[in-house]
């Protein structure tokens, strides 16, 4: 659908120039390679050109800018660390991180569009799929010809995915899939879904479900105050016949979906820095322009406290993400380390959004500035892909060896 057709006359696209500049207090750019810097600057330029002028409009209307799916593919934001012969970018994990950072600098919803496609759809097919499945789906997912989504969470099973009730039953050359998934990014517009379900022995298996399979629907979830420019829905399966050739052959058990989530959480740990940087950048600029009592509010100690703490926390988060990236490149990043970075960096970003909102005063609640949108988005990011609390328990279990989940 041409989204431009749906824009009403009275809603104007932003005419404000996106003045964002990156902030690198500890010269961490020196730790990045040429590819990382080129990738980051390219995605930053793309966001300024394609996302910034439209994002407030779509977010305000709670509408997904679906035209960006193609643009994200063209820039190479889907599966940048998947090999090129499978439609990815053949880059390393830090490149993936900086791309997610720049996308989320634009909007967490736009970053979600890309990280679902890359980490939760392309990655499991690449990692666990047969060669036929890889060749059938991955190039088209990489080019944006197909859009995918990922079904793990259920209405009654969020933090506890092992309790899932979605199931498959053997029926000759196919499985019969029943159940429902909830909070699925991209699901109403997706062509395929990577769905996790239990077989008759209770073992979790991954399946590729295509949108035209009978009995499969993906209704949209409305009324979100967060990630409003990203489309979210359910996946409902009523006796859906899925050919056995659509089962991911190379994984059984929850480690399948959890390894995908590790990938996505890694991207979020970087992405959240982007949202924080945008809030800080806007707050810093505003604090130098806005005058009260005869001087810029940036000259007052309480504003400086906020700004100084923001850049300190951003710098710490950047270091955490960079180190996590180097570990991931060496194949040594543990899920618990990824949890720590996701939890820390998202919380950091949310706190910075709140402080930045205060610096903007009343203007901070309007869509003249990006901070309130980031803040509302980050409320989702705080609990999706593992809640803030669950990630804490993962760290707790990792350091004590004791399981506090149940």
């Amino acid at each position: 659908m041409g989204q431009n057709d749906t824009i009403s006359e009275d809603v104007k696209f932003s005419t404000k120039t996106d003045q964002y500049e990156g902030h690198d207090y500890y010269n961490l750019d020196d730790l990045l390679s040429e590819d990382h810097l080129l990738a980051r600057d390219a995605v930053r330029a793309w966001v300024k050109q394609e996302v910034s002028p439209i994002i407030e409009h779509y977010s305000n209307k709670a509408e997904c800018p679906t035209q960006l799916f193609k643009g994200l593919a063209e820039i190479g934001a889907y599966g940048p660390s998947i090999p090129t012969q499978y439609g990815g970018g053949g880059m390393d994990e830090i490149a993936y991180g900086v791309i997610m950072q720049e996308l989320e600098r634009g909007d967490s919803g736009v970053r979600s569009m890309a990280s679902v496609q890359g980490s939760l759809v392309m990655y499991p097919i690449y990692r666990f799929g047969s060669e036929e499945q890889r060749m059938k789906y991955l190039p088209k997912l990489g080019s944006g010809e197909l859009i995918g989504c990922f079904g793990l969470t259920e209405p009654d099973h969020g933090s506890n995915p092992s309790g899932m009730v979605t199931n498959i039953k053997d029926d000759g050359d196919a499985y019969i899939l029943n159940g429902a998934k909830m909070w699925i990014t991209n699901s109403p517009v997706a062509d395929i879904a990577v769905v996790w379900a239990k077989d008759e022995e209770g073992v979790v298996r991954g399946l590729i479900v295509e949108k035209d399979m009978e009995g499969f629907t993906a209704p949209e979830i409305h009324g979100k105050w967060s990630l409003r420019a990203s489309i979210t829905g359910e996946l409902v399966f009523e006796d859906v016949r899925v050919p056995k050739s659509n089962v991911l052959p190379n994984v059984t058990g929850l480690k399948g979906p959890l390894s995908c989530l590790s990938k996505a959480r890694f991207g979020i740990a970087w992405g959240a820095i982007g949202a924080a940087l945008d809030c800080y950048d806007s707050a810093l600029r505003y604090s130098l322009e806005r005058e009260q009592f005869g001087k810029p509010i940036g000259g007052f100690q309480l504003t400086q406290k906020k700004l100084a703490e923001m850049i300190t926390e951003i710098t710490k988060a950047q270091l955490l993400a960079w180190r996590l990236g180097t570990l991931a490149n060496e194949g040594k990043a543990t899920p618990a380390q990824i949890s720590m970075a996701k939890r820390n960096n998202v919380h950091m970003a949310l706190e910075i959004a709140r402080e930045a909102r205060q610096i903007h005063g009343g203007m901070g609640i309007t869509n003249e500035y990006p901070v309130m949108r980031h803040m509302m988005n980050l409320e989702t990011v705080l609990t999706y892909e593992g809640t803030h609390d669950i990630h804490l328990l993962i760290t707790g279990m990792d350091v004590t060896g004791l399981n506090a989940f149940k």
Binding site: A42, Q49, G76, A77, P80, I99
Partner: protein, 246 residues
């Protein structure tokens, strides 16, 4: 066809400008550098477009130190096939033009592109000097370039209008806004750029007829005074008493 695109490194547009060495050198500390936008958005992209439609090769050339490699990689990511860096500090337009011409004279380029100016020193000199060294026609401020066989149809921006001209290859052209549209390199291009050749050559003799005596910053602009449209008397008073123009 064979295209040479001269690319230059300039400070990012929002960089804070300061000087060192008794105001004789630009202070680069804390300054981010980019590819000169006229070189990147217009000259390079038009050369790549012509190569894509007519075939051939785009070579990017830069005069500068190894720290310039990142902007050269960006040119390769956008679509240049290979690159040459002449390992010398670009100290004067004449020196840069001579080094570029030294390379180009035996290479049979059909078109040598530059941006119309760099956004730091705004000299607009290198292209004309390259043309002179190579004894080729020079077309400046080009906002449109179409090829038919060996003949180019070019629009030049001139004061208040456009001049349409025709010229046969080889020639030197400087690119103005409108010659092409900015291309953002994608991840595939960035990865392919790593495998494209970047040849570093040492400079020959560099003429250095100019030395910098002093840089000065323009005086700080005073803040703007807003006058209520209903209050014409105040406007007249300000023009009369403060700016003293009436």
């Amino acid at each position: 066809m064979k295209f040479l695109v001269c690319i230059s490194k300039t400070p990012e547009t929002t960089a804070k400008i300061a000087f060192t060495e008794n105001n004789t050198e630009f202070d680069t500390s804390g300054v981010q550098f980019i590819m000169n936008p006229y070189d990147e958005w217009y000259a390079l992209v038009r050369a790549v477009e012509l190569k894509e439609s007519l075939g051939g090769e785009v070579v990017a050339i830069n005069v500068g130190p190894a720290s310039n490699d990142i902007i050269i990689r960006k040119a390769l990511a956008i679509g240049a096939d290979r690159a040459i860096r002449i390992n010398a500090e670009p100290e004067s337009a004449l020196g840069v033009a001579k080094l570029i011409a030294d390379h180009a004279k035996d290479e049979q380029y059909d078109i040598v592109f530059t941006g119309k100016e760099t956004i730091d020193f705004n000299g607009s000199e290198v292209a004309g000097m390259v043309a002179e060294y190579l004894d080729l026609p020079f077309i400046s401020y080009a906002s449109k370039l179409e090829m038919e066989g060996q003949t180019a149809t070019i629009n030049r921006d001139i004061e208040g209008g456009v001049e349409g001209i025709k010229v046969d290859t080889p020639f030197v052209i400087s690119a103005a806004k409108g010659l092409a549209e900015q291309r953002i390199p994608n991840m595939r291009g960035i990865m392919m750029a790593k495998r494209k050749p970047l040849e570093v050559i040492e400079p020959g003799d560099i003429p250095a007829p100019v030395s910098v005596v002093k840089y000065e910053l323009p005086e700080k602009k005073e803040g703007v005074k807003l006058v209520d449209p209903e209050n014409m008397d105040e406007l007249v008073r300000l023009l009369h008493e403060e700016s003293k123009v009436i």
